[in-house]
């Protein structure tokens, strides 16, 4: 296995043959189904839970409420503000109120449906800005800043007054919708008590190590009583970054009378109780000098957290950090407000705040180009970050920075160069537009959160190389990449390699599978571990032959003595190594030199970049947008596995197109109206085009084999690129997404300045 080759992924065949066992695939001979009674109202005081009918149903083993929760009954990552089971207050329709254990799924459903939640309704808050108004009902009475979960402000240079130095200023506001992850495997887990009394939770989770601590804290248990195992996930995209079923399952096991417990949310429950991408409302003012030099940005970003902190404040902070996009802007004032509401809880989703900011910023850039009568590529090229430049929060780009290469590749591509002829050849009742967007995306954790992972590699007694990976694989293929790295360093083929998936008892802590960090941080740790094992193997083999180490080479399954063509099997080397067979290494990512005070939790240091182009055709009669062509150019360092890399870009673009065009999550006073995949429409194979994906391919010096994060960057491009293309096609720019056919049809009828749209 070699770096740079499209090695077929390790887990491909077990998944394609149906043999791979996901968290949702655990059953047993004598187990219980666990399910949740949800509040059904967005805001209220809990008076009573009537569960007698449920308790009397044959086959119901237990009905648990907050009174049965040992410990503080509070979960949360930064701030613990979410009950495992509601006590005192209900803050969203999806709040868990009671936990039912039953012998089968039918009985479970009957029991859950029979429970009555008695609550005194309280006026809810559903709009971010209204929630901040004086006198608004409070979601958490004990939070010192009311409904304002977190405010982050960044001032650079002269701040907002820098706009006075500009020859042209555009003003633009935009609203992005909540987005549902719609991973195929809904939230699922299986839990049991092992012989030693330890609670084992096998869950579809991106964060096994953090979950263990969070569950322990919420339920008042010793973390040593908990073990969390993360099999391959059936998709996650951020929606399984944190607790879903885990605390409920642990609680269930405490009352299951020794039987294993299964919890698997159905699609409607997943839509109701799973976190969503934070809706955002963004107000931008962007200015430049007449020569096109971007000079000042002032923006206010409002993000809807829903009722619980989760990582919402951190996501909003990431948006503020990226508010100015991949440009050098000397004067910036960026204010972010993350707000508690009674809407469904928000949380991480691929992009982590950047897709929202990019959607507004990149449209503002197009508006600025128009005002300056400049070509949109030229304006961007004039301002893109180059190595050494400071980004919009003042952090110097001292790592790989190839934003210009991305855009110049785009500008040289026929999809851009031939755009005018293509637009002119639209058929009857069709209008065409070609839009672009430039992107940056920070990799890893911010400065104040140590970004660390531990790799363990072992030469087993039978001569196999075993890699212990403590970072989950939600489908992106990082686990397969780890084997590719180990195979490359140790000159082994796929047959000689095996993998241990995250398990708090077997693998080392690695942090979350998130933040475009998995391969970077774990890969760096693994390279060192594998290289150490390599030298130990060669050294042991030189003693065993005996011969000089220089005569030896690792080959699949053994060590070859080149001078004599003898091969020593790795199993024999393993026996000789005994206690030295296993190597553990930790790696910690570099941080920005700038002070942590720049922004909450400190700034990021390493960024990936991208330039996207989309060609759309809008139907004048229906408003429907057809995406005809898509080009993505990415600077994510060197590519370890081209097929896996392309898969990340193509998949992120499909998700971004859904976000921008069709994924309308309908809500009414905190209640969800999109309850199924029939009413929440994610892209099908007919809705996305073949994507042309190009990589700049230049090394990030600190990255494993020169790579840097590629998992998220591309999700931020489609929304603004499509919005820019549609505005060009229709002559109307709408104020909010997604750009559904209905919204665009109304915008066309209203014309510029109407209720749906602004003049572009």
């Amino acid at each position: 296995m070699k770096i740079g080759e499209s090695v077929p992924r390790h887990d491909g065949s077990s998944k394609a043959t149906g043999r791979e066992r996901y968290a949702a695939d655990y059953y047993g001979s004598d187990f219980l189904w666990a399910g949740v009674k949800r509040a059904g109202i967005p805001h209220g005081r809990l008076l009573r839970i009537d569960a007698e009918d449920a308790r009397r149903l044959p086959g119901v083993v237990s009905v648990l409420t907050h009174a049965d929760v040992p410990g503080p009954n509070r979960q949360g990552i930064i701030r613990q503000d979410q009950p495992v089971l509601a006590d005192g207050k209900i803050r969203q329709c999806g709040d868990a109120v009671a936990l039912v254990l039953a012998r089968d799924r039918q009985t479970l459903k009957k029991a859950v449906d029979s429970i009555r939640v008695r609550a005194e309704p309280v006026q809810g808050v559903f709009d971010m800005e209204a929630a901040l108004a004086p006198g608004a009902p409070l979601v958490h009475e004990d939070w010192p800043s009311g409904n304002l979960l977190r405010h982050v402000a960044v001032t650079k240079g002269k701040g907002g007054s820098g706009l006075d130095l500009c020859d042209a200023v555009v003003e633009f506001s935009f609203e992005t919708p909540r987005q549902e992850h719609a991973f195929l495997e809904t939230q699922a887990g299986w839990a049991f008590s092992d012989e030693a009394g330890k609670i084992v939770i096998i869950a579809s989770t991106q964060t096994p190590f953090r979950d263990r601590l969070e569950v322990a804290r919420a339920l008042g248990l010793d973390p040593d009583r908990l073990r969390v195992v993360a099999p391959y996930l059936g998709g996650a995209f951020g929606g399984k970054d944190g607790l879903t079923v885990q605390a409920l399952l642990a609680l269930a096991v405490l009352k299951s009378e020794g039987r294993p417990v299964k919890m698997w949310w159905d699609r409607e429950e997943s839509f109701l109780a799973g976190v969503k991408r934070l809706p955002a409302r963004m107000y931008y003012r962007l200015g430049a000098r007449s020569d096109g030099a971007m000079t000042a940005l002032a923006c206010r970003l409002y993000f809807d957290a829903g009722p619980y902190a989760g990582l919402a404040g951190e996501i909003m902070t990431m948006a503020v950090e990226h508010a100015g996009g991949p440009y050098r802007i000397p004067h910036v004032q960026a204010d972010g407000f993350c707000v508690y509401t009674n809407n469904p809880a928000s949380g991480p989703f691929r992009g982590f705040g950047v897709p929202q900011a990019a959607s507004a910023m990149e449209q503002a850039v197009d508006l600025l180009a128009e005002k300056l009568r400049m070509d949109p590529v030229e304006l961007r090229m004039r301002n893109l970050l180059a190595p050494g430049d400071r980004n919009s929060i003042g952090v110097a780009m001292v790592h790989s920075t190839f934003a210009e290469e991305c855009l110049s590749t785009l500008a040289g591509h026929p999809l851009w160069k031939d755009r005018e002829a293509w637009k002119r050849s639209a058929g009857r009742f069709k209008r065409r537009g070609v839009g672009i967007a430039c992107l940056s995306h920070a990799m890893g954790y911010p400065k104040d959160v140590p970004d660390r992972a531990g790799a363990k590699i072992e030469l087993t007694t039978d001569g196999t190389i075993r890699v212990y990976a403590g970072v989950s694989d939600m489908g992106q293929g990082n686990a397969a990449t780890y084997l590719q790295i180990a195979g490359h360093v140790l000159d082994q083929d796929a047959d000689q390699l095996e993998l241990v998936l995250p398990d708090t008892e077997r693998t080392l802590p690695c942090g979350s599978a998130s933040a475009s960090r998995c391969t970077y941080v774990y890969g760096n740790a693994l390279i060192e571990a594998a290289a150490t094992l390599r030298s130990r193997v060669l050294e042991a083999a030189s003693r065993l032959f005996p011969c000089a180490a220089g005569e030896l080479a690792l080959v699949p399954g053994g060590v070859l003595r080149r001078t004599t063509a003898e091969t020593l099997p790795l199993s024999r080397v393993s026996a000789a190594l005994s206690g030295e067979r296993s190597v553990e290494c930790f790696y910690q990512a570099p941080v920005a030199e700038e002070d942590s005070g720049v922004i909450y939790l400190g700034p990021h240091a390493i960024f990936s970049y991208g330039a996207h182009l989309v060609r759309v055709e809008v139907d004048e009669l229906t408003g429907a947008v057809e995406v005809k062509d898509y080009l993505a150019v990415t600077d994510a360092g060197r590519v370890i596995n081209p097929v896996l890399f392309e898969g990340q870009i193509e998949g992120a673009i499909a998700q971004g197109l859904g976000y921008g065009l069709t994924e309308q999550f309908s809500m009414e006073e905190g209640a969800i109206r999109s309850t199924s995949l029939a009413t929440y429409t994610v892209p099908t194979a007919l809705d996305v085009p073949d994507v042309t994906s190009l990589s700049v391919g230049r090394a990030e010096e600190t990255g494993p084999f020169g790579m840097k994060g590629a998992g998220e960057i591309a999700v931020s491009g489609p929304f603004p690129a499509v919005a820019n293309a549609v505005a060009q096609a229709l002559g109307v720019r709408v104020k909010a997404g997604p750009l559904t056919a209905e919204r665009l049809l109304l915008a066309q009828l209203d014309g510029p300045g109407g209720p749906q749209g602004d003049a572009p």
């Binding site: 065949s13 998944k15 996901y22």
Partner: protein, 164 residues
């Protein structure tokens, strides 16, 4: 009630409630967890199985509807004596598998397509798999994989109509 059918080539008799959903029968009672459930309401295609060779959604079928039928699940799609079929192999080789939760249903939908159409082009392939949702891949590599199968089955001279 007793229900007799052929499951992955083997005569099978189960004793099940007649209104038990086929997806539950397969996964929970028969241990064939390769068939996935993702929406439970017939919108995503993850639970696709073949019934007498045609793709059907096992979350919308009841046990009694299996009587006398030949059922193929992902576990039974490989030819006798082989670990994987050509569609499965192509999915792995072309990067069509990411999280893998849509993969079994997607592969069975492709089998159904290729039974009806020996040389579908990319547009036809996209149409045929449009009832199977994938949230990871953006579908492109799945279409690539199916094109590769078509080329493989029809020999080098055949190939698909129209490239990318």
């Amino acid at each position: 009630m007793k229900i007799s059918f052929t499951l992955n080539g083997r005569a099978t008799v189960v004793d099940a409630d007649q209104d038990r959903r086929v997806v539950d029968l397969l996964r929970e009672d028969l241990g064939l967890t390769g068939t996935k459930e993702s929406c439970g309401t017939g919108e995503c295609g993850a639970c696709t199985i073949l019934v007498d060779g045609e793709s059907r959604l096992s979350c919308l079928m009841l046990a009694s509807q299996l009587e006398g039928r030949a059922i193929t699940t992902i576990e039974g799609i490989a030819p006798e004596g082989k670990a994987a079929g050509d569609v499965q192999e192509a999915f792995v080789a072309h990067g069509a598998v990411q999280c893998g939760f849509c993969t079994p249903g997607m592969i069975l939908a492709v089998h159904d397509l290729l039974r009806r159409d020996r040389a579908p082009d990319r547009a036809r392939i996209r149409e045929a798999i449009s009832g199977n949702l994938c949230r990871c891949t953006g579908y492109q590599k799945i279409v690539d994989a199916v094109c590769a199968v078509v080329s493989g089955r029809n020999g080098a001279a055949g190939g698909t109509r129209g490239g990318r």
